[in-house]
Amino acid sequence: MSSAAQIRYLVRHAIRVEMRNKHGIAGLAVFAIAAVYTCYQATGMHAERESWNALAWVVLLFTAFNAVSKPWADDASNMRSFLLHTVKPQDWLLARILYYSLMLLGLGALIFAAFLLFLGMDPFTGSGALFFFLGIEATALALASLLAMIQALAARAGGGFSLIAVLGLPLIIPIILVSTRYGMDIMKGIAFGDTAHHLLFLATLTGGFTALGYILFPYLWRD
């Protein structure tokens, strides 16, 4: 099997496993919506744009950490030894990044929709909401590319959720710094063209993390 076919198979397999047991993904969706609803209770219908911006990114961040901290059958040591002989580790990492990307893109859309529903669209002018959504999705991709690697690292170290948080939270700060600044720019009504370099920077981070993971993952995976 070629790499592309293998990756496609692995992603489809991951989705199939996820769908067989829907409570995992449903739990994430409930977590996300409940988090947004908590924000709504705290700020009310017409949130200030500063709180809107801050809460949106915090909810996305926590949902992403929850999403990657779900235990994964492939992390069991017998499963890993099997995969080690059948799949190229790089392909497996790319498949995992792709799978997390799909999941976080979906969750990002859900969170954004819930935010619009509960906290209102007051901060946005013109097509600002659309550009903000673009920012959320770009951030979701960057988070997926980094957290896939961190999750694998933590699982291999046997550390669980707390280790993901300790290792992941400092590492994602560059992403969050860029995203929050982009979100604030959009809400201030700055033209998309003048703040689009933030998105470019996020894309660069995504590419960089993926490349770094691609190079380093084999060392992490083998025995």
């Binding site: 690697m149 291999r156 170290a157 046997g158 300790v166 290792l167 939270l169 560059p174 380093l216 060392y219």
Partner: protein, 350 residues
């Protein structure tokens, strides 16, 4: 012998640097030029003038007070102000006898004196009660310029004042941390390419431990400096955030090491994480601050390296300081490495 000589050299450099930091005086400068609100007479003139108080910092105005000249400058236009009284070495009263029609409201204040040389207070005075005609011109007065006759001193910078000495403590801390994290980065790459030996892993751990110590010292010295110049222990600034997060990322490295029991797995996983950490360090401290505005010296028009580079007195201490702290850091790293290697061997014997 060679080993010992660079350690002694490093200590000698640091001794020199510490002596310079604490004993070299700060050069003179002008603090403020304000109206006292009262009117006064200038000798040999009948006219009443507003009295302005000029405050200096580290100046020597009581020595040959009659040779002190206070000049206002706007563009190429100069105006000499008459002296009323020299109160002490740093305070003097002058009369504001500019004509009613002036080319600008905002003027630089220049002071020349045989001991201090020429001192400048940019936009030091703002005249509110004058009529502006930009075409106004008058003949420039003759100003005697004196070369400064001061012993070796650090340059005076407005607001920064004595805290300029922190340059030799704070900045080299980060340079040393960069060096140590770089050593750790190289050791981690070599660890991943030679899996059978754990020596490189011990190196990576030792250099991160010492590097974190220097990072923490960098945060502390920076925080102290910020308290005196910005008025707060911590401010929200890209450069500061980057520094703090870098320290957290490397703290995560040590946490990861503590989590894993199997030493071979620990060597491999922590090396992988270390490579990530170094890339993040580059992004946070070299790339992101250039994307955003920062208050930190050296960024966005704030005084920093570029203005210091020109000053030979700071260079004479700053470069030895960087070298000295780096030598000390490397030495500490070697001691730590030796201790860790012995610990590892002892554990193998048990």
């Amino acid at each position: 012998m060679i080993q010992r000589s660079w350690k002694i050299g490093g200590l000698a450099l640091l001794g020199y640097v510490l002596c310079m930091i604490f004993f070299v005086p700060l050069g003179p400068g002008l603090l403020e030029f304000t109206s006292t609100g009262s009117a006064g007479h200038v000798q040999d003139q009948d006219r009443k003038v507003t009295v302005y108080a000029l405050t200096g910092f580290g100046t020597h105005w009581t020595e040959s007070p009659d040779q002190l000249t206070v000049v206002l400058r706007h563009g190429t236009q100069l105006a000499s102000l008459p002296l009323i009284e020299t109160l002490d070495a740093t305070h003097v009263l002058v009369g504001m006898d500019l004509p009613y029609t002036v080319p600008s409201k905002s003027w630089d204040v220049l002071v020349t004196h045989p001991v201090d040389g020429t001192l400048l207070l940019e936009n030091g005075v703002f005249l509110q009660d004058r009529f502006i005609d930009e075409q106004t011109k008058w003949a420039n007065p003759e100003i005697a310029e004196y070369p400064a006759e001061l012993p070796f001193h650090f340059p005076y910078q407005p607001q920064i004042l004595e805290t300029i000495r922190n340059l030799m403590l704070h900045v080299p801390m980060w340079f040393t941390m960069f060096l140590l994290m770089g050593i750790s980065f190289v050791a981690s790459i070599r660890q991943l390419s030679t899996a059978h030996d754990l020596h490189q892993d011990t190196k990576a751990e030792a250099s991160v431990q010492i590097g974190l110590l220097f990072g923490a010292l960098g945060l502390v010295t920076g925080s102290l400096w910020a308290r005196y110049t910005w008025g707060a222990w911590w401010v929200d600034d890209p450069q500061l955030n980057g520094a703090l997060v870098t320290v957290l990322v490397y703290a995560g490295y040590l946490v990861l090491r503590a989590t894993i029991q199997n030493i071979r797995l620990r060597a491999r996983l922590s090396s992988v994480y270390n490579l990530f950490a170094f890339v993040i360090l580059i992004i946070l401290l070299m790339v992101l601050p250039r994307f955003s505005e920062s208050l930190h010296p050296g960024k966005g028009g704030n005084p920093g390296f570029n203005s210091y580079d020109l000053d030979s007195s700071l260079r004479a201490v700053f470069y030895p300081a960087v070298l000295g702290w780096m030598m000390l850091g490397t030495w500490m790293y070697h001691v730590r490495l030796k201790a860790s290697s012995i610990e590892r061997k002892l554990r193998q014997l048990q």
